[in-house]
């Protein structure tokens, strides 16, 4: 039982195919097959059987697949631990949902870096299957939407920020003139602007979206800021964060359109505002690194909350492709 064999098997189990695993690893298919054969012989378990639809794991194979990823992750965490032991700075790998990364990450991590004595490197990435990534220690902590309850055994979840989303449109948009609640039918007939990953079913707005009677046309831009700008140009509607859009928004149908320089209006839509929560999630029971625990405590402080709602821009957050890299200093 080698770490390399376990890594290979974990990939096979995840992809459900030897060929696919071989392709992903950039090696030939017999290499994968022989790694699996070695595990089979050592554990005296076929691990999986060929079936019409790919492969199906035996009970033993399922047990091994669960553990394999964990062991490989532990090995890599150990490498990092040894490398950083004794050094004052450490690296913290943070997983964040898109909205948190865009609107809060910069200021929060800037403040976190100032509060810490040692330097902290924070890498923010977007990804799915948060629970698995945490369990396999690919990341130390996740900030944003709550992972599915079923997947959260072994994880510690702490809520740290309550947000609301409201439907907004340009003050000049036809829908802004509607008196009273906006009919869902009319709302669904105009394009909806959004940032990346806005309607993930793990979020409250995602579940709200799933309950709609029909799907509108979604225009997904690269950020919610861009989406809000497009909406301000009169091109459609958007489900915006209330504390972000708030300063530019007047209530529609209240006779105060255009007052105070507001260029956006809130559309009164049924079941809005949508209230959601951001959670800090990490391994439980002393398995999370100390820095992750510090960050988890930090985001629940009043100072961090104030930073998240503050209107001033991000600092120290540079965006590269689909990743945000935050270099913090103290």
């Amino acid at each position: 039982m080698t770490l390399s064999q376990l890594r290979t098997f974990a990939l096979v189990a995840r992809l459900g195919s030897l060929r696919a695993a071989a392709a992903a690893l950039g090696i030939s298919e017999p290499a994968v097959s022989s790694a699996v054969a070695a595990l089979r012989a050592e554990l005296r378990d076929p691990l999986f059987t060929r079936s019409p639809t790919g492969i199906t794991l035996t009970p033993g194979g399922r047990a091994l697949a669960e553990r394999a990823g964990e062991m490989v992750g532990l090995a890599e965490a150990t490498r990092r631990d040894v490398a950083h032991a004794g050094a004052s700075e450490s690296e913290l790998r943070v997983l964040a949902t898109a909205a948190f990364a865009e609107h809060a990450a910069g200021r929060v991590f800037d403040l976190f870096g100032k509060a810490r004595s040692g330097a902290v490197d924070v890498i923010v990435e977007a990804a799915d299957d948060v629970a698995t990534l945490l369990r396999e220690r690919a990341y130390d902590i996740a900030l944003g939407a709550r992972p599915a309850l079923a997947a959260s055994t072994g994880l510690e979840l702490v809520p740290f920020f309550k947000y609301q989303r409201i439907m907004v449109a340009s003050a000049r948009h036809p829908l802004a003139a509607v008196r009273g609640p906006v009919p869902i039918g009319r709302l669904l007939s105009v394009p909806w602007f959004a940032g990346p990953g806005s309607f993930e079913p793990s979020t409250e707005e995602g579940r709200w979206f799933g309950r709609l009677p029909a799907l509108p046309e979604i225009v997904e831009l690269t950020s919610e800021t861009d989406a809000l700008a497009a909406v301000a140009g009169g091109e459609g509607v958007m489900l915006a964060l209330r504390h972000v859009a708030g300063r530019r928004v007047a209530e529609a149908g209240s006779g105060s359109e255009g007052a105070g320089g507001a260029d956006l209006v809130r559309l009164p839509v049924a079941d809005t505002p949508i209230t959601g929560m951001w959670w800090a999630t990490m391994l439980d029971g002393g398995r999370a690194p100390a820095e992750a625990r510090l960050l988890q405590r930090f985001v629940t402080t009043a100072g961090a909350t104030a930073a998240m709602v503050s209107p001033t821009g991000s600092r120290g957050l540079s965006r590269r492709g689909n990743k945000f890299h935050v270099a913090l200093w103290s």
Copy 2:
């Protein structure tokens, strides 16, 4: 970084010596040295340095030592998981302090086996350094004295039984005739009988013992039952479990000696009865096997408590050397 290398390094770190580790593994010393050298090269860390008194770990070495045992244990737990996956019975490795093993284990596990649908194999052993053994998954659950608080991160502790210890002597013993509290000086001048490991500092009675002004002569027999028999023979005193000795005990100095067939008396000693607690300890956060969690819940039930105080003898508990092997069926 191989599991074998990690196993070797963990042993070196624990024993503080390459030679000792080599002897323990039954291999030559250069074999150990080269395993360590491989880790050194791969992790780019000296891991330890030679010092006048054996070796001293570097920060990186300390980090590795912590993880190494965990990884090896996880690997072996995985082997067991795969072997038992799909089978209805599973094996549960239980660590127990001597007093629990002698007075409660048999009946508790007997009852636990009956309550379970599948068969359960339980192996009870005595050992020290409970926290490490649990963390490295050498055992699934520990029943008895509470591990030191400092060592309990990552562990889940649940109290399940409150016991008391009282000082007893034969009704014919000279100390039984003393009126009022027994002077500590006189108590210390007679032999104290005890079972194995009776004064472990992790137990409440151990701490009480540590606070005594001087040490009495301790006669450690192979079981508390034997010790109690010796005391009944008039040979000395003993700190006995109240619910075990209770039926044979009259209160000394109360004028009721010999009443009701009691052949033992309780000596009124300062700070007695000593009240202690048995704890069920296991890995926290979903890392403990399901069977361990079931047992942890089971021991806190009223039925389990009733079995522990019941006067009827053990069942299904066969003692072999220093180990108890309990084969349970349903």
